[in-house]
């Protein structure tokens, strides 16, 4: 219950007591400890910088050859050595964002139920089972998707959306329903990121002080009003942190998406149409890419994925920051 929320700047107390600096250097043990932790802390950014450098260096021939066109072109033709990543960038962003839109309400529902409504005996097992979703290998999700999820999508969900709801007239739900589609990939991603969002949100909600709840109840709030007006706003930035974690996971997910998205180099407005992601194209083609430019183009996809992740994360962090700044209700 006292665990600090992982991504909640306003909850974590970071300012060290003033007199700590005066104790510095008094003991060798402290010095060693300090150096050790500093080393660990520095190692990660250095590692990231090295990886970035290596990827960009390997991708350089492709960037030099295609320039900005690599980001805007939709042609991917290894035979003629023409490479453009636009459909993959589109597919990566759209499938991840769509997954987030599907997963967040469910994850929040699970988290709110477990922290506010669930009886004690139910809380642990349900939490455990939801968290266990995160431990299932990606390829198992992919297989399950092929044999269970896609047939349901193709035979039930897609006809329902297109015909029964009449959404087939909009460009977003038009075209033939193969099953293998952006929607299929987004659904599997939604299931895969749900445990991350719900686990973080649950912890953050549980960390909301009892006094906050009691104050709301004392004001005459119903349970629903208490959750809406006192608990969720308090936990808002932490919940957003969980959502960011889920998004990062969705952007980089490879195997399950590759198995379900249909792997087609095409930007289509329809969610029923197959698409492609940056991670998928690398997984698909890297093993047999002998040609230098082909390898470079795949490395360039890796570099672009890094940048996309960075940009999306930056936007999300800015969102957390701006939300955290708002006064609490």
């Amino acid at each position: 219950m006292t665990d600090p929320a992982p991504v909640a700047p306003d909850l974590a107390v970071t300012t060290p007591p003033e007199d700590l600096t005066t104790l510095e250097g008094k003991s060798v043990g402290d010095l060693v400890y300090r150096m050790l932790t500093t080393g660990f802390a520095v190692a990660i950014p250095v590692l990231l910088a090295l990886i970035t450098f290596e990827v960009v260096a390997a991708a350089w021939p492709a960037f030099r050859r295609f320039g900005f066109g690599f980001l805007t072109s939709g042609v991917w033709d290894p035979v003629r050595e023409q490479f453009g990543a636009a459909p993959m960038i589109y597919g990566t962003v759209v499938s991840s964002v769509l997954a987030l839109i599907i997963a967040t309400p469910f994850a929040l529902g699970v988290a709110i139920y477990l922290s506010e409504f669930s009886p004690r005996w139910l809380r642990q097992p349900v939490s455990f089972l939801v968290d266990l979703l995160a431990a299932i290998p990606s390829v198992v999700y992919g297989l399950w998707g092929i044999f269970v999820l896609l047939p349901i999508l193709r035979e039930k969900v897609m006809p329902f959306l297109a015909t029964t709801l009449g959404l087939g007239r909009t460009p977003f739900f038009s075209g033939p329903a193969y099953g293998y589609s952006m929607l299929g990939a987004a659904m599997i991603l939604a299931i895969m990121i749900l445990p991350y969002i719900s686990a973080v949100s649950r912890e953050v909600l549980m960390a909301v002080p009892r006094s906050q709840r009691e104050a709301a109840l004392a004001m005459g709030a119903t349970k629903w009003e208490m959750i809406r007006d006192a608990v969720i706003p308090y936990a808002r930035s932490g919940i957003l942190g969980g959502v960011i974690l889920g998004l990062a996971r969705a952007l980089g997910e490879t195997m399950a998406v590759t198995m379900l998205i249909g792997n087609r180099h095409e930007i289509s407005a329809s969610l029923f149409a197959p698409g492609y992601t940056l991670a998928s194209v690398i997984a698909n083609e890297f093993a047999e890419a002998t040609n230098e430019l082909h390898t470079a183009a795949l490395m360039a996809c890796g570099a672009v994925l890094l940048i996309v992740t960075l940009v999306v994360n930056a936007i999300a962090r800015w969102l957390v920051w701006s939300v955290a700044r708002e006064p609490k209700t």
């Binding site: 665990d3 042609v75 035979v79 896609l150 033939p176 249909g262 698909n284």
Partner: protein, 358 residues
Amino acid sequence: MRFFPIALALTVVAAACSGGGDSATSDSISTSGVDLTGAGATFPQPIYGKWFNDYAVAHGVRINYQSIGSGGGIKQLQEGIVDFGASDSPMTDAEIATAKHGAILHFPTVLGAVVITYNLPNVTTPLRLSGQEIADIFNGTIKKWNDARLAALNPSVKLPADDIIVVHRSDGSGTTYIFTDYLNAASTTWATTAGGPGRGKEVSWKVGLGGKGNEGVAGQVKQTPGSIGYVELAYAKQNGLPAAHVKNKAGEFVEPTIASITAAAEGVMATLGADADYRVSIVNGPGAGAYPISSLTWLLIYQTPPDAAKGKKIVDFMRWMYSTGQQSAASLDYAPLPAAMTQRLTDRLATITLTATR
């Protein structure tokens, strides 16, 4: 401690990873007796695995083969990391020129074939297809199953009025290379269409869905009524997938079988000179009863192996493979080479120089 389950999962993963590391180390200890290492194609991996195992039992020479893909095998051989490579598509002259230890020889080992499989629930007699029609289906020109040209090839079959859903490989693969190589040879339009897919391990498909690996394509075809795709013969046989009969150069519609694939190599064999380097394509080959989408797969060996002792071990293995080894190929759904070819290849092994240069 409500993060416990995730923490536990991470610990398990970490343990699994380090476990993998441990087993790798113990592997390298237990296989310190490895005599040869090779890397390359995944397609012949099952039969290579069987051969290397059988050979180790019979002759005590241990061969470690890593099926990392033809591309990776070629790269590692070029850099001299492995003693031999394996590939489903022949190396180009440019690729051979950049190899560290000089000329590389291609030795065919077995034959494989690509099978056209489809999902038409009401069609029970095998579909008949010819090269031009297959090309037009995979190019998106023929869009419906009841297209007049398909109906003309299958007069006794009632084809549905459904859309054809094309499924192709999304990963770079020798299977795609063989398939597009065939379409290049058997269709008048595949190669000439401006911006057409052309020939390669990974091409720019105009239509269809991409599946990763044979299992990906087969899975999509099985799941999607009205679909058509291509997988390698062994995979199709072991999974009981329907296989179209394909028209060969002699005008016959041929079922893909071990015999019809070996026949394809026999047909091409007749056209090879004594000094052939065996970097030949046997797709759409001549000869009666030849299945047209067949291909050789090769072991790649330096003409002058940098380590003569290892070179001798490879040559000894190859001799065994061309005699005893060939007999077990069919048991794993690979077609053995024709007898005349194994004879000539065995003779060709003598051209490998086994006097060490270092």
